[in-house]
């Protein structure tokens, strides 16, 4: 499901997210999850990223109404 990033709550992670082009206003979609509650595989624009659950939780998102 496509979600829109509203805010990044952890400031240190925010620097990392920002430099990768993941910031408020961008749409993000979870493609799949690694086994046993592991990392998430997401898509932002045309790029694919992997991130930990904790990092995903630092992203405040809302569903996008298409």
């Amino acid at each position: 499901m496509l979600r829109e990033i509203i805010r990044i709550t952890d400031p240190e992670l925010a620097v990392r997210f920002f430099t990768l082009g993941i910031y408020p206003g961008k749409f993000i979609e979870i493609i799949r999850r690694a086994p046993f509650g592991g990392a998430l595989y997401v898509q932002v624009d045309q790029s694919f990223f992997v991130l930990r659950k904790k990092e995903w939780e630092a992203l405040e998102t809302k569903p996008v109404q298409l």
């Binding site: 400031p11 240190e12 992670l13 925010a14 620097v15 990392r16 997210f17 920002f18 430099t19 990768l20 082009g21 910031y23 493609i31 799949r32 999850r33 690694a34 086994p35 046993f36 509650g37 592991g38 990392a39 595989y41 624009d45 045309q46 790029s47 694919f48 990223f49 992997v50 991130l51 930990r52 990092e55």
Partner: protein, 694 residues
């Protein structure tokens, strides 16, 4: 006019910048280290059309000047603090046309530092010709920098690249004074201007960065509190992205979703929660299968070549200590280094192919969660797998792990992974532990024990990692977030240079230590107090048993006696009381000591002690060891002694080269000595338990 002499290649990770570097320099490269840090520095020469040599440095990939990893810090060290002996005076910036949105961020920062910049837009063959042309003209016009959109697989593209680089080098560069894209915020303007007057800052932005963080790499406190600094970095990044978004809207052209459908489809299988893991294990199994089977022939060939040259030199040269040093110290030492090269080449060849193809980042994704439970990172897997060939390049590969704690734990436990130098020791002894029979009709019992030894090594590595994880406080935040590169066909030049550089690292790092130790060991095992050898020779030559021997047997027997009474033999006897509870005698004691050059030296030393000549293999050694008896008539190498010895080798840090590399990576002897004591204790206790319980 000042000409450019020292150009750095800068870009995001996976932007194709290493490929550009290889295209421009060919195989004429040098691996060095950056001042003060242990990050590999790749340098090469570009020959300009005027036959001038321009030094090119491939800086580690980074997304921004606000760095997070040790690798990325190099970038700010070189470009902001300029503390290299030959400061960078120009930049080739490489950006992947498919991901310009992110990749332009660092470019705008670089431009604000006022370096003469040549911009290369890579992977043109993955986007439409129209898009590439539009961006090339647009960026060239906006930045006033020579810009070249290209594909590394097209010959004319490469020729144009070289032509444009030449124009870039020939240009006048003194006058570079661009208007900064990012303006220093009002609140800092006064301080930054003051700072700029007293320092040789290249631009306002350069002065701002210098002023904000006096030097982040030296842990000096920043001008701002951390939250404020982060806020400033985010504000800067945002303002740059709004410029990039503005550029994108001006281009008004987007390719239809070229969106890497191939990568996406492949990932449906390769990163699948179940199939993905299964495929990973199959891939690793194949990698090791191929490594061992391909390396077998060249290894035997190298061993034989050295044994042959050592033997023929022995017969050719006069009996002199110098001849002995050559044939018994230097040549075996050299052989000990060379013999591992085939395995290291094949393992790194396959790992580099997988990495270049984009597969290894998927493995990092699959295993990150599991490994993070042990205080490791998904990226640790590359070091752990490489450790099965040799700990030295494996430890060096941990540099790409961002988090200091995770990097430390990974390099700490790597020496527990069974490396290729342990294999000959295991092969020589395994026959005394289990018979080569079949279990359940298909499995070879010895093969299963080998497998068990690998699992033991991996298991112990994970356990120790876990203990360290609980024991060491977290210093900096651990994170994974990374971009998955598209799958691609590996570029052969890229693969070749990576493998060559890894092998070079092994030969240089391990080589010098192995050589020194093997010469030292030659001295210890060929000399004794003056006159002692002559005395022994006189006593032995009168024995009846000796007189009846053939000439060859005579000299072998004498060799064994000499070794017994040499300094090494004396040390072996000295430590005998300590290793007796493990089931070892002084003969094994000598071998334990000589193994410090490299573990496989065990085989050679044991062969000399049991007087079968020192150029013998594991199979011949096994036959002789089989006939060694205890005073009560039973075999000396029985089940428990042999198993105890194997276990000792599984744990103990019997490798001086590994310790030397750890010293360099951690900046002192403290950690390697800790590893040595800890793994030694573990080895001792495990062997003690086995010998005493069975």
């Amino acid at each position: 006019m000042k000409k450019l002499q020292n150009i750095a290649i800068v870009g995001n990770p996976n932007s194709g910048k290493s490929t550009i570097f290889n295209l421009l320099t060919g195989l004429d490269q040098k691996v060095g280290n950056f001042a003060g840090v242990t990050v590999e520095k790749l340098e090469g020469n570009f020959i300009s059309f005027n036959k001038e040599k321009i030094l090119l440095t491939d800086l580690p990939g980074a997304y921004s000047l606000h760095t997070t990893s040790k690798d990325e810090q190099i970038l700010s060290k070189c470009l902001i603090y300029r503390d290299e002996s030959k400061p960078i005076d120009g930049i080739i910036y490489v950006a992947d046309l498919r991901y310009l949105h992110q990749q332009l961020l660092l470019l705008t920062q670089i431009l604000d530092l006022n370096y003469p910049t040549f911009i290369v837009l890579s992977n043109k063959d993955h986007v439409s010709e129209e898009l590439a042309q539009k961006w090339q003209h647009f960026i060239q016009q906006k930045t006033q920098c020579i810009t070249h959109a290209m594909s590394a697989r097209k010959a004319y593209s490469i020729i144009q690249l070289k032509e444009k680089l030449n124009n870039f080098i020939e240009q006048e560069h003194d006058l570079v004074q661009r208007k900064n894209i990012y303006q220093v915020p009002e609140e800092f303007k006064f301080s930054v201007n003051e700072f700029k007057k007293n320092n040789h800052s290249r631009s306002d932005y350069h002065a701002l960065l210098q002023w904000l963080e006096t030097d982040s790499t030296k842990n000096n406190s920043s001008k701002l509190e951390k939250p404020l600094l982060i806020r400033q970095q985010i504000a800067e990044t945002m303002s740059r992205y709004s410029l990039i978004e503005n550029w994108e809207s001006q281009i008004k052209y987007q390719d239809k979703q070229y969106a890497n459908t191939f990568s996406k489809k492949l990932d449906n299988i390769l990163t699948h929660p179940i199939w993905g893991l299964g495929i990973f294990f199959i891939v690793m199994f194949l990698v090791f299968q191929i490594m061992y089977s391909w390396a077998e022939f060249p290894m035997t060939a190298i061993e034989n070549a050295f044994a042959y040259s050592s033997e023929s030199l022995k017969n050719l040269l006069p009996q002199h200590w110098f001849a002995q040093l050559l044939t018994e110290g230097i040549i075996p030492g050299l052989a000990g280094v060379m013999v591992f090269i085939p395995q290291i080449v094949f393992l790194f060849l396959m790992l580099t192919l997988l990495d270049e193809a984009g597969y290894m980042t998927r493995v990092v994704y699959l295993l990150d969660h599991l490994l993070s439970k042990f205080g490791l990172n998904g990226r640790s897997i590359i070091g752990l797998v490489s450790g099965a060939a040799c700990a030295i390049p494996a430890i060096m590969s941990t540099r790409s792990i961002y988090n200091r704690k995770e990097r430390f734990i990974t390099s700490f436990v790597i020496p527990l992974i069974p490396c290729s130098a342990r294999i000959p020791v295991y092969t020589a002894l395994i026959g005394f532990v289990v018979a080569p029979e079949k279990v359940l009709g298909i499995f070879n019992l010895q093969g299963l024990v080998f497998m068990g030894l690998y699992l033991l090594g991996i298991g112990t590595a994970l356990l120790i990692a876990y203990a360290l994880h609980k024991f060491i406080p977290d210093t900096d935040q651990s994170f994974l977030i990374m971009q998955l590169p598209d799958y691609q066909l590996p570029h052969y030049k890229q693969v070749l240079t990576t493998v060559i550089n890894k092998v070079k690292a092994f030969v240089i790092e391990a080589g010098k230590v192995i050589m020194v130790i093997s010469v030292l060991l030659w001295f210890l095992s060929s000399f004794s107090w003056p006159g002692e050898f002559e005395k022994i020779e006189q006593i032995v030559s009168k024995e009846e048993k000796y007189i009846s021997l053939s000439d060859e047997e005579k000299s072998a027997t004498l060799e064994a006696y000499k070794l017994e009474h040499s300094f090494a033999g004396k040390i072996g006897k000295l430590i005998e009381p300590a290793i007796e509870p493990l089931g070892f005698d002084w003969k094994i004691g000598i071998s334990l000591i000589t193994s410090f050059a490299a573990r496989e030296v065990f085989v050679g030393t044991m062969s000399t002690i049991y007087s079968i000549g020192n150029n013998s293999d594991e199979v011949k050694l096994r036959e002789v060891l089989n006939s060694v008896k205890r005073p009560d008539g039973t075999a000396f190498f029985n089940f428990k002694t042999s198993l105890s010895l194997i276990i000792f080798y599984a744990f103990a840090l019997q490798c001086m080269s590994t310790m030397a590399v750890m010293k360099r990576e951690t900046g002192g002897w403290k950690i390697p000595i800790l590893q040595f004591v800890l793994f030694g204790l573990l080895a001792y206790l495990a062997s003690l338990m086995i010998y005493q319980l069975f």
